[in-house]
């Protein structure tokens, strides 16, 4: 990693939606991470953890009304540095497409159905790179070729519905990389695709990162995808990062009970068959406000009284953790060095020596416990 400032530093990002008449919703509640050239940063979590809202906030795509965005997201541009969250709409529009690009989950609804693929690609080339006429056409065909669309000249004249799901996602990626953006955000780019097509798309993204040096923010719920693609991983729960680590320690020594729970609740192709799954109890609806304690506590097999005394801090793994205002621990760990360190937000993390026996004595529900027991 370079010693200079990161390409994009997101610090304490928060997004609050005004509730219509009811309570406001803190969709993202202080998330910090950094993006570097040629690296893939992952945001992992289940529905409602705030991962998609984070990407929309960075792209400036959240609605103007009814939303409050806090924190900062400082991006290093060739000439200066800008905070994406406070940039005026005009500048943001120029930045999107040229410096920032996004790939969505559903390629069909992200493409204009009545405009041929070619026109949609050349439109971007015209707007951001000033290419016109046959030059733009040639460049567009090149782009489609680069993302692995066979017979690109013919494809340029086709409409989105004439392409298969995988081809559409490729076309969308071609549009995203058209202006060689320095930061690319992929929000569940392969969730709607079949596994064999998913493998093709992941390979393509990996090539883009290694060859072009693009910084990729990968948003997904699939831990398998994360393990293969991401360099640094942030596990999100209820709007906050609960564990952040480079991928090797995250998968070999997960410390937050949520990460541990996620990993042991998915069947793995490479594990011996017949190994029972250990689900996480309850559903994401069973949480408490972060301000009061750990949001994961109601579903956790490890929670202690201290978990319920206040918001747990993000601390380096191995240091004694405490709740905010409780005194101990390094509160700054999360903000600065998220790229390299292994940090977690937990006062009673899983220690690997006792993973095997701990849940039996400590858990309120038996290992195979189900959703309802957390609720009542």
């Amino acid at each position: 990693m370079s010693s200079s400032t990161p390409l994009l530093a997101v610090d304490e990002l928060s997004v609050v939606f005004d509730g219509h008449g009811s309570d406001e919703v803190r969709a993202v509640d202080g998330v910090s991470f950094t993006l570097e050239e040629g690296r893939v940063t992952g945001l992992v979590g289940e529905s409602g953890c705030g991962k998609s809202v984070t990407s929309l906030a960075l792209m400036g795509l959240l609605p103007d009304r009814g939303v409050r965005v806090g924190g900062s997201a400082v991006m290093r541009l060739p000439e200066d540095r800008v905070d994406l969250l406070t940039l005026p709409q005009r500048r943001m529009r120029d930045l999107r497409g040229s410096q920032l690009a996004m790939i969505f989950q559903d390629p069909l609804s992200s493409l204009n159905p009545v405009v041929p693929i070619g026109r949609q690609v050349t439109e971007i080339l015209r707007r951001h790179r000033g290419l016109r006429g046959s030059v733009a056409d040639r460049e567009a065909a090149d782009l489609l070729d680069r993302v692995g669309i066979p017979d690109p000249k013919r494809r340029l004249r086709e409409y989105p519905h004439q392409l298969s799901g995988g081809m559409r996602q490729r076309a969308l990626i071609a549009m995203a990389v058209a202006c060689r953006p320095r930061v690319m955000i992929a929000d569940e780019p392969t969730t709607a695709l079949d596994v064999t097509i998913q493998a093709q798309i992941l390979e393509l993204l990996r090539d883009l990162v290694t060859e072009e040096g693009t910084a990729l923010l990968m948003i997904t719920h699939d831990l398998g995808v994360v393990a293969g693609l991401c360099d640094d991983i942030n596990v999100l729960y209820a709007g906050r990062a609960v564990e952040t680590a480079p991928r090797t320690p995250l998968f070999s020594d997960p410390t937050h009970p949520y990460t541990v729970g996620l990993l042991s609740s998915i069947p793995r192709l490479d594990a011996p068959r017949g190994e029972p799954l250990t689900p996480i109890r309850g559903s994401v609806n069973d949480n408490i406000a972060w301000s009061q304690g750990c949001a994961f506590a109601p579903r956790c097999d490890h929670y202690t009284m201290e978990c319920l005394q206040g918001p747990p801090e993000l601390v380096a793994v191995g240091t004694a953790a405490g709740v905010e205002g409780g005194g101990s621990g390094g509160a700054s760990a999360g903000a600065s060095g998220a790229g390299a360190e292994h940090v977690h937000r937990c006062v009673n993390p899983v220690r690997h020596a006792d993973v095997a026996d701990q849940p039996v004595t400590e858990s309120p529900a038996v290992a195979g416990g189900d959703e309802e027991e957390a609720q009542g």
């Binding site: 219509h20 008449g21 609806n285 069973d286 408490i288 406000a289 009061q292 304690g293 506590a297 109601p298 929670y303 202690t304 009284m305 319920l308 004595t361 858990s363 309120p364 529900a365 038996v366 195979g368 416990g369 189900d370 309802e372 027991e373 957390a374 609720q375 009542g376």
Partner: protein, 347 residues
């Protein structure tokens, strides 16, 4: 364990641990654990929700109560209906009696405007305008409701039959559906007013004519709407689930598909009431309505008013305003209902 009896829907705090721990017999741990669980319960509490389940209509009603659009519409509609129902009690005078005939001279452009005894003034024959408007509301409501009922009844029957046979009838069902829908398409191809004029020409001008004409014109709209809704509901998984359960086709159509398809149709009927009122007024205006002056009707009043448009524009303004406001009321109510019932439009 899956067999543990337990409550659901986060209405209660966790309570599982006690049994797990008494077996351990470790008292201090037990005490600590109990405190912990209590604390968790306390934090998760306060988010309790209503005890009994609420159906789709009830939640829609709750939502409508908070919508200013729905309230405005409901108030207008309510006032209109009350006025129409109790018209004879509200109207201060006989609407046909030319009580003040001596005060009005249309030839010389002498009209009487609003005054203490006649709130909206007198019409060209010296009748109390306010009483005529009030009694007219009654006619208008009658036309609107009957026309809508005709359209709803016939349309829903045709559309329902077509939809049900298309969803569940197999090959023959598709043919039935095809035949019915071609007929409906032909009806749809005729302009509403032209259709109404044709009916009126056949039966002769009367209130019944207007009601039938306006109603018939609405039939294809209702039929298509219900059929479309039934087709889309028919492809939903819960219909497949009912079939997999072995439920009889007739019961699936009546218990599952139809109730879930009625939402848009009911919304449409409120909107149709508005158009029916306007169409009825238009037909009356064209002279196809009730020729009997004993029953004042807003459309007829509007038609009569045009003779005096330059000298007494208020004759046209009152019925026109009444028609617009009433139609608006029904439209607002219908739109609010649509919004409340359609989860996609929820904010």
């Amino acid at each position: 364990m899956p067999t543990t009896p337990s409550s659901q829907n986060r209405s209660e705090p966790p309570k599982a641990p006690e049994t797990a721990d008494t077996a351990d017999g470790r008292a201090p741990l037990l005490g600590r654990k109990a405190a912990r669980v209590d604390r968790l319960a306390e934090l998760m509490g306060g988010r309790e929700e209503g005890g009994h389940g609420a159906g789709v209509w009830r939640t829609a009603l709750d939502r409508m109560r908070r919508s200013p659009m729905a309230i405005t519409g409901a108030v207008i509609v309510a006032v209109f209906i009350v006025v129409a129902l109790f018209a004879p009690l509200i109207a201060p005078y006989d609407p046909v009696a030319q009580t003040w005939g001596a005060e009005v001279f249309p030839n010389r452009s002498v009209f009487v405007g609003p005054r203490a005894e006649n709130w909206l003034g007198l019409d060209n024959l010296g009748r109390d305008q306010f009483s005529r408007m009030v009694i007219g509301a009654r006619q208008t409501l009658l036309v609107g409701v009957v026309a809508t009922l005709v359209g709803f009844g016939v349309g829903a029957l045709l559309g329902g039959a077509a939809g049900a046979s298309a969803v569940l009838g197999g090959r023959w069902g598709l043919r039935v559906d095809n035949a019915v829908m071609r007929v409906i398409d032909m009806m749809l191809a005729l302009p509403t007013l032209l259709l109404a004029v044709t009916v009126a020409a056949l039966v002769g001008p009367s209130l019944t004519t207007v009601m039938i004409a306006v109603g018939v014109a609405q039939v294809p709209i209702f039929a298509r709407l219900l059929r479309g809704a039934m087709l889309s509901q028919g492809s939903r998984d819960y219909v497949l689930a009912a079939r997999a359960l072995g439920v009889r086709k007739r019961k699936i159509a009546l218990v599952h598909i139809l109730p879930n398809s009625l939402g848009p149709v009911i919304v449409q009927s409120t909107l149709t009431l508005a158009t029916a009122i306007i169409d009825a007024a238009a037909l009356s205006y064209l002279g196809l309505g009730n020729p009997d002056p004993a029953f004042p009707e807003w459309g007829t009043m509007l038609a009569d008013a045009q003779r005096f448009l330059s000298s007494a524009p208020q004759f046209a303004v009152y019925p026109a305003l009444a028609i617009i406001v009433t139609a608006l009321g029904f439209t607002l109510l219908g739109e609010a209902m649509r919004e409340a019932l359609d989860p996609k439009l929820r904010k």
